[in-house]
């Protein structure tokens, strides 16, 4: 419990009426964030607007339009492209990469080293354009097996990786944990990717002109209400 | 003589107009003209004989075979349309040679044949032009040439000389008669010119209101009819024949 957060909210409920707040959020986090935003709106009557798109588009939008107050990115790496526009950063929850296979694990994959097995077809995110692809490449390279894995294709967004498994186009993928919430997908119980866990940051933007609502919202993100929502959707809280 | 075209109890309905009970036999190598008021169904009759329409009853036979049983492209009927129906995207030469190309004649032959027919019809100077640039009479002769060049067994012509001046017309009469003789081509044509009908045709039919009322030898065209509508149409006055 953080009593401070609650108080702030109650104080603010009057103040933020008619105030604006505009936030960019990675499309992958639509569900939890939508709920958080709604809760905030309910409490404070703040006119909060969340624009969803994939990270790359958001980066471009921020750099080009120079509008908006806050950017919720899939990982801290994604803030590099908007470095100059970020005034402050706050970590929210863990973003956990996992190794996923078809449910039942027919090929008996137990860790990333099994990806080198014959007949295992792997699909990964693009190594430069997607954060999850970068992680996958790094993990495989660190294990010195990158060259040996049969990567049949790379995709440009995380959901496409899930589709690849669902449609039987791939035997294993490396993807975010929250993406893998599907009965047809099994998460391999391995610690191989634990060292690549990222955090989801909330980056305040220099172009923000809604300081008051932004500050209140950032505090709200620390509240248990927000944290509970994250964990309900399968995200792990920071220690 | 052999009956080449046999139309029997033919009926055709087209909106408010209908052809009624047409009976017409045309013998091989004959020339038959059809006269009739505008809108009386002459064009529709010609088109029916060519097998243009599908919802009709009665029978039309060519060479003792039902027209509709032969695919259009094998009917060997030349048709000169009242509004010419030239292919707008082809030059006059290509229009005329279209049928020959379909018969896979060789190029030299095609060029020669087109040259000959276009000289006959005095259109050799416009072979490179497109139909859109032609004068009315030129279009008409191109349409004629396109049909004639195939030497069809049957030639159906819808007012084929209407856009020509008297001299050119007279030339055409001679040419068509020659074609009729040399290629043994049977001709059925529509005209509004009684004189033309008499010069060209062996027999003349008269259409009134969708009915083919009468077919007569050309020389007897102006003999009085029992049918007053025909008398009126031909300008045969009551008094003259009043007894």
């Amino acid at each position: 419990e953080n009593p401070n957060a609650k108080e702030t909210l109650q104080d603010a409920s009057e103040n933020l009426k008619g105030k604006n707040l505009s936030i960019y959020c990675g499309a992958g986090m639509t569900k939890p964030f939508e709920e958080i935003a709604n809760k905030f709106k309910e409490k404070t009557k703040c006119n909060i607007e969340v624009t969803y798109a994939n990270a790359a588009q958001i980066q471009t939008q921020i750099n080009t339009s120079k509008e908006g107050d806050l950017f919720i990115a899939g990982s801290a790496d994604e803030l590099k492209a908007v470095e100059k526009m970020v005034s402050d950063r706050k970590d929210l929850v863990k973003h956990i990469p996992i190794l996923a296979v078809k449910s039942g694990n027919p090929l008996q994959i137990t860790g990333i080293n099994d990806l080198t097995k014959k007949d295992v077809e792997v699909i990964l995110g693009d190594y430069e354009a997607t954060p999850i692809g970068k992680i996958a490449k790094k993990a495989l390279t660190d294990a010195s097996i990158f060259e040996k894995v049969n990567v049949v294709a790379t995709t440009s967004t995380a959901p496409e990786l899930i589709n690849a498994i669902l449609n039987d186009q791939s035997d294993a993928i490396i993807v975010w944990k929250e993406n893998a919430k599907n009965p047809k997908i099994e998460i391999v119980d391995t610690k191989d990717l634990d060292s690549y866990i990222k955090t989801i940051p909330a980056a305040s933007l220099t172009c923000s002109d809604n300081k008051e609502s932004l500050d209140t919202f950032l505090k709200f993100l620390d509240s248990d209400i927000a944290k509970n929502i994250w964990s309900n959707y399968g995200y792990e809280l920071l220690n | 003589m052999k009956k080449l075209i046999e139309v029997e109890n033919f009926y055709m309905n087209l909106g408010s107009f209908s052809l009624k009970n047409i009976n017409l036999d045309i013998y091989e190598n004959e020339i038959v003209a059809i006269l009739g008021k505008t809108g009386s169904g002459k064009t529709v009759l010609l088109e029916s004989i060519a097998g243009f329409y599908k919802n009709c009853c009665g029978s039309i036979k060519i060479d003792s075979k039902k027209v509709s049983d032969t695919p259009i492209e094998n009917r060997n009927i030349g048709f000169v349309y009242q509004d010419f129906g030239l292919f707008p995207h082809m030059s006059v030469f290509d229009n005329i040679s279209y049928g020959l190309k379909m018969q896979k004649k060789d190029k030299m032959f095609i060029r020669e044949t087109v040259k000959k027919i276009s000289e006959t019809l005095s259109i050799s100077n416009i072979l490179h032009q497109y139909p859109g640039t032609l004068s009315g009479g030129e279009k008409q002769r191109t349409a004629l040439a396109r049909a004639l060049v195939l030497k069809p067994k049957i030639l159906l012509m819808d007012e084929p000389f209407s856009a020509l001046d008297p001299i050119t017309k007279e030339k055409m009469y001679v040419q068509i008669k020659e074609i009729n003789k040399i290629f043994r081509c049977t001709i059925l044509f529509v005209t509004h010119d009684f004189n033309e009908a008499q010069i060209m045709a062996n027999r003349i039919g008269i259409m009134i209101n969708g009915e083919l009322r009468r077919i007569r030898k050309s020389i007897n065209l102006f003999e009085k009819y029992k049918d007053d509508e025909i008398n009126k149409f031909l300008g045969i006055r009551e008094e003259l024949y009043s007894d």
Binding site: A27, T30, K31, T51, T64 | K54, S68
Partner: protein
């Protein structure tokens, strides 16, 4: 011999047609199968209802504007074929080849520039607004619409227009009474394309406007978000709604597009 050829041609054409129809049916069927279980939920959702309304609203407006722009432009481009017109044509059609992402990006850059800012000060906010959706749809569709209508205007017999003038029609009236009716099928076709693509447009919109729930969330945007969160079924249900809307409009359009068989004698003709 010849008879066989006929049959061969017809048969091949039929086979191709059926192949195309089957292929398209499979696509539609896939959406049906995946989407139907979620359909009733979707219809009940306030968010989906909002996005249906927004899609219909923005698409109607953008289709209307597209036509308002495309028809006079096609007229100007076809009346004379001078060099200027040729270059104008090419400029108009160039963006056809652009990925919608790039189109959206250009629009974003354009409307974030000083020009865009002054528009915003005048109350015309394009970026991140519903107006942006309309602008994106127009940008995507206008080259198609112009190409389509221009082709039709080219085929109109200019003699008929001259004749209309000799009967007292001013240019404007003769355009309304001769050129447009004679291009009717193509104009309807262009409308249908614009309307359909407007409904489905999304690439350019996403870049220019992003998706804000209940504000700039069109049906395709809602589909995008659902795909991004892995809810394929829900997104297919939205796609199904799009298909429903589209099939209604196609029915209406085809009703107006068919050959007016009472206008010539050919309806009764053998084409066998």
């Amino acid at each position: 011999m010849k008879n066989k050829k006929i049959n061969l041609f017809e048969v091949i054409s039929y086979i191709i047609t059926i192949m195309v129809v089957i292929f398209m049916s499979l696509i539609v069927l896939t959406i049906l199968v995946e989407g139907i279980p979620y359909l009733s939920n979707s219809f009940a959702s306030r968010e989906v209802q909002f996005s249906i309304k927004l899609s219909l609203f923005t698409t109607s407006i953008s289709t209307f504007i597209c036509m308002i722009l495309a028809i006079p432009t096609s007229y100007i481009l076809t009346r004379e074929s001078n060099t200027l017109n040729k270059y104008m044509q090419i400029i108009i059609e160039l963006p056809l080849c652009l990925p919608y992402l790039v189109l959206g990006l250009s629009l974003l850059i354009l409307f974030s520039s000083n020009f865009g800012k002054s528009l915003k000060e005048m109350g015309l906010k394009v970026v991140y607004s519903q107006l942006g959706i309309i602008i994106a749809q127009i940008s995507v569709n206008i080259p198609y619409a112009i190409r389509f209508i221009r082709t039709a205007f080219l085929e109109v017999d200019s003699r008929l227009e001259f004749i209309a003038s000799t009967l007292g029609a001013s240019k404007w009236i003769r355009f309304l009474t001769i050129t447009i009716p004679l291009s009717k099928n193509a104009i309807i076709g262009a409308m249908i394309l614009t309307w359909s693509r407007g409904l489905g447009e999304f690439g350019a919109t996403l870049m220019l406007v992003g998706v804000t729930r209940m504000k700039t969330e069109t049906l395709p945007a809602s589909i995008y978000l659902n795909v991004a969160t892995g809810d394929i079924g829900v997104s297919m249900a939205s796609a199904l709604i799009l298909l429903l809307i589209s099939s209604i409009s196609l029915f209406i359009a085809n009703y107006f597009t068919n050959k007016n068989s009472n206008r010539n004698r050919m309806k009764d003709v053998y084409t066998k």
